[in-house]
Structure formats: C-alpha cells, structure tokens
C-alpha cells in the first residue's frame, strides 16, 4: 500500500490557488463590463447619437484586451484536475459532466458566436443586430459563469447525488437539486453582482483619470453616470446576496462562518466583528483570547446567521469538540464514524474482489449508514477540521469593508456628476482611480473566504484534499507551479501594459466636435 503524500498536496493546493486567482483577475471584468457595453450601446441605438457609439467602442476595446489575455486561462484549472487531483476528478466526473457540458453547449457557443459580431460587425450588420449581439455576449458570459459556479457550489454543498462505491464515483441523482441548491444560487448571484461592481469601478476609475487629466471630459462624465447607476444597483444586490451567503453558510458550512468571524466559543446573541486583530497563537480548545483587539456589533452575527439577534451561533470549539446542549456532534465522533465508513468500504471492495455478493451487499448496507461521515475518517485529529482562521477572517473583513465603501463611492460620483461639479472634486477623482485595485482586492478576498474557509475539504465532509490528489512527487507539482507563476505574471504584465497604453491613447472621437 503506497503512502499518500501531503507535501505534494500542499504544492498542488498552492498551484490551484495561484491559477484560480490569476484567472479571476480577468473574469469579473468580463462579466461586468459586458453588461456596461450593452447599456452604452443601448443608449446609442435609442438616442442615435454617434457619441454613445464612440463611448461604447472605447470600452469595448478595453473589454477586448481583457478578454484576449484572459481567455483560456481557466482551462489550466481543468488540466490540474486530471493531473494533480485525479481521485477527485474521477469521483466528480458524473456530477461535473452535466454543468460543464451545459456551459459548452448553451453558454460558450452563445458567447463565442456573438463575440465575433460584436467586435467585427460594427459596419457589417444593422444597429439592432449589433446591439442584440452585445447583449448576447453579456448574457452568454454570465451563463458561462453560472455553470462553473454551480460546480463549485456542489463541492461546498454536495446535494442531488448518490455515491456509487463500485465505481468510486458520485453520480447525479437530481440535476435540478444541484442547479438550484441554495449555495449555487447565492454563489452565482454574489459572484456576478460583485463582478458588476468591479467593472463599474473600473469604468468610474478610468473616467476619473480622464477628468484628472482634463481629457475627454464629456465621455468621462457620461461613463461615470452610467457606471455609477449600475454600480449602485449592483451594490444593493451584493449586500443582499452576501447576507444570503452568510445565512447559507450558517446552515451548510458553520465552520466557515465561525472561521471568518474568528468565533471560537459559540454564544447566543453573538456579535459581528467590525474590526479586530486575530491572536495568531490561538488554537482550538486552548484558553487564549481569540483576539488581541476587537470591536463588535452586539447580536449582529446571530442576526446574520439565523435572522434572530438572540440566537445561538456555534463557534470553532463547539464544532470541533461538540456541544450537547445545542445538539452539535464533535469531530472526534465524526472521525470515528468516518473510520467505520472507510472500513465498510474496504470490506465491500474485498467482497467484490472475492466475488462474494452477499458480503458486498451487507457491507454496502452498513456503509450507507455511515457514508455522510466518510471524509472525517481521513482526518488525523479533530482540530484538522478547522480552516486557517486568520486568513479567512482578514479576507472576509477586507471584502466586507471594501464592499461597504464601494456604494458610497458610486453615490458620491453619481451625485457630483449629476450636479455638474465632479471635475472640481479632485479628491474624489483620485479615490475613484484608486478604487480599481481595491475592487480586485475585494473580489479576490471573497474567493479566499469561500475556498480557504472550507478547508480541509475538496467536497464538503466527504473528501478532504489529502485523498483527492494524485500519487505524484512534490517535484512534479513544484515545476508546474513555477511555470504558471512565470506564464501568468507575463500575461498580467501584458494586460496592464496594453490596457494602460490604450487608455493613454483614449477614445476615438475623430470627425466629431472635440469634447474637451
């Protein structure tokens, strides 16, 4: 029996995180800017004003740069499934097949077909056909994201499936349950609306730069108004969907909720941490304070988690060591049950090999009583069920603080743009420009909360990362890790350089009265 290698697992995790984070630098701008393009072009078609066409074409050019450099970066994640995470890849093949096929058929082809019309069809098709293509690109891009996010949501909350031990696979039992799981809905709505926010800040920030430079001021002001309205509406949805995501976490991933709030000891009327510094020496079960410093809003975490200010929210210690009063099973007991599940799986496998169907059936019947604990059987200690608390906590709070700041920025930009005094507010223009990297930080932080906060699981409670991997040496994964680091850094530098050059050149208003 070969030994499983956890060093390889950690390199594979680092590689997946690196690739996913680089990939996510390109995706949110595509998701959000595609809709902004549709809005700008709709204004062009409705008003018939050439100016809106030029504005649309300028932002479309930046969209094209982002799309061209970002396209196919996600495919590398799929390569990694087959190479580094072959057990996982095998086990989820039947579940992921459906959503990914749906992505290919409905979304990708829709997106790809209309892309060509949108980019190259300005002078070749009618105004309305072109506008239709632009809307289809926006809808198609976001539909692509839907299927990927459904697949991700299933890993966080595996529903609508049965485990088939003979094939060592999770098999789809109910597609609709997978598609409409509460985690899938909150994940899709939160990821897309926050991407709309990011793209709106991108447009506001670059327009602010034009105003600071006193160039293309008319275009900049018009872009700011459209993007601020879209950003404000998106922000309202981000707050609503974020609240829904936290409520869902409390139901299906309470450990993640406890980690992102740094809550070790559960309590009724639990407070929400507004700001705090985590005590890095704190471990589950010890007597140290979880925070070196903290400011809390009383009762708000209970409200967020259960919609009731006085309700009980379990902490990390309750989830790891159990809490009889609140009927929470500890991880030790889950590990014991998980080991029984593994043993029964082993007996089933042996019975199959010995061609003993009666014993196989008996082992399988018993396994079904313990299968929900299967993943815990691979954990070495109860504390292993705890994700990295500090990283999850800080990422969550950075995301929330920035997510609260963004609607204020949109509101200020919209107010002063409509009032006609935006050009005089140079502090606000600088803030707008600076908000572009902040939007990316918030977006990345959101994914860190989602993914780091659910460790050690690849599939929640069923498959830890230590069992999801392939039997490779760490050296193999290290090599590809650094290859990706170099490749993606080159792509990122290329994106930023080309984008900055194109922004510097600015929109093409040739043949029209100067707007400055």
């Amino acid at each position: 029996m070969d030994q499983l290698n956890l060093t390889m697992v950690n390199w594979a995790r680092a590689q997946f995180a690196l690739t996913a984070m680089y990939h996510w630098l390109f995706v949110p701008l595509t998701l959000g800017l595609s809709f902004l393009l549709a809005f700008f072009e709709t204004l062009y078609v409705k008003t018939g004003k050439e100016e809106w066409k030029r504005i649309t074409r300028f932002w479309m050019l930046l969209f094209a740069i982002n799309f061209a450099i970002g396209v196919a970066t996600g495919i590398i994640l799929e390569f990694q499934f087959g190479t580094n995470w072959s057990n996982y890849s095998w086990m989820v093949g039947d579940i992921f097949g459906a959503p990914l096929a749906a992505e290919g058929i409905f979304a990708f082809f829709l997106e790809a077909t209309f892309f060509a019309v949108m980019f190259f069809g300005w002078e070749r098709v009618s105004k309305k056909t072109h506008l239709f293509a632009t809307w289809m690109v926006a809808i198609g891009s976001n539909l692509s994201a839907l299927w990927i996010l459904v697949a991700n949501a299933w890993m966080q909350y595996p529903v609508g499936m049965n485990f088939n031990p003979a094939k060592a696979r999770f098999e789809m039992a109910n597609f609709w349950e997978v598609l409409f799981s509460p985690v899938a809905i909150s994940k899709f709505t939160h990821a897309t609306t926050s991407s709309f926010q990011l793209a709106s800040l991108f447009v506001v920030g670059i327009s602010a730069w034009f105003l600071l430079k006193k160039r293309h001021q008319n275009m900049a002001k018009k872009s700011i108004i459209v993007a601020s309205v879209f950003g404000l509406l998106s922000s309202a949805f981000v707050i609503f969907t974020g609240d829904e995501a936290a409520y869902t976490n409390a139901r299906v991933q309470p450990m993640k909720l406890a980690a992102f709030e740094g809550l070790y000891d559960g309590e009724a009327g639990a407070g929400l941490v507004a700001a705090g510094i985590i005590n890095s020496k704190k471990k589950p079960g010890d007597n140290q304070d979880p925070f070196l410093f903290e400011v809390k809003f009383p009762g708000l975490l209970s409200l967020l988690a259960n919609r009731e200010t006085g309700s009980f929210v379990p902490g990390i210690n309750d989830l790891v060591y159990g809490n009889k009063e609140h009927n929470i099973m500890g991880v030790s007991e889950k590990i014991a049950n998980g080991k029984i599940a593994i043993e029964l799986l082993s007996q089933y496998k042996k019975a199959l090999k010995e061609n003993n169907p009666a014993r196989a059936e008996k082992a399988l019947a018993n396994f079904n009583n313990y299968k929900e604990y299967l993943g815990f059987g691979y954990l070495a200690s109860p504390e292993e069920a705890t994700p990295p608390v500090a990283l999850t906590f800080y990422s969550f709070h950075i995301m929330v603080i920035l997510g609260t700041l963004f609607p204020i920025i949109f509101l200020l930009f919209l107010f002063y743009a409509l009032k006609g005094s935006i050009i005089q507010k140079r502090w606000l223009l600088r803030l707008g420009l600076f908000s572009i990297p902040l939007a990316y930080v918030a977006s990345q932080a959101g994914w860190i909360v989602a993914e780091v906060g659910r460790q050690p699981w690849t599939i929640q409670n069923l498959l830890p990362v230590s069992v999801a991997r392939s039997n490779l040496t760490p050296g193999t994964v290290q090599t590809t890790f650094f290859l990706f680091l170099v490749l993606f850094t080159i792509l990122l530098i290329a994106e930023i350089r080309i984008m900055l050059k194109q922004i510097q050149i600015g929109p093409d208003f040739s043949g029209m009265p100067e707007d400055d």
Binding site: A64, G82, T83, N84, S86, V467, L472, I498, Q502
Partner: protein, 56 residues
C-alpha cells in the same frame, strides 16, 4: 504592431503554450496514463479511499 495583431499574437502564443507544451509535457491525465480501463481506474481510486493519508 497594431492592437488587433498584438492581441491575436498573444492569444495564439498562449494557446500554443497551454495546449502544445503544458498539456502535452506537464499535464498528463494521471488515471489515463497509468490505467487502461475504467474498472482499473475505479479500483485505484477505491484503494486510495480505503487507506489513510500520512505525512511523508
């Protein structure tokens, strides 16, 4: 070089590196490389599922 050509060049070079180099030389499908039938693959995964991970 114009913007359009630059972007097409980036796309082509990138796709070539991803599919022509990374996929072929660095990212073989582990189960397809090491096993010939689905039964063998399932057996391998089941074997991994019935043992405990240990630090090396």
């Amino acid at each position: 070089m114009g913007l359009g050509r630059t972007l097409w060049a980036i796309i082509l070079i990138k796709v070539l590196i991803i599919f022509g180099v990374l996929k072929i030389f660095f990212f073989p499908d582990y189960l397809h490389e090491n096993f010939t039938t689905d039964t063998e693959r399932a057996e391998h995964v089941l074997t991994d599922l019935t043992q405990m991970p240990t630090e090396k």
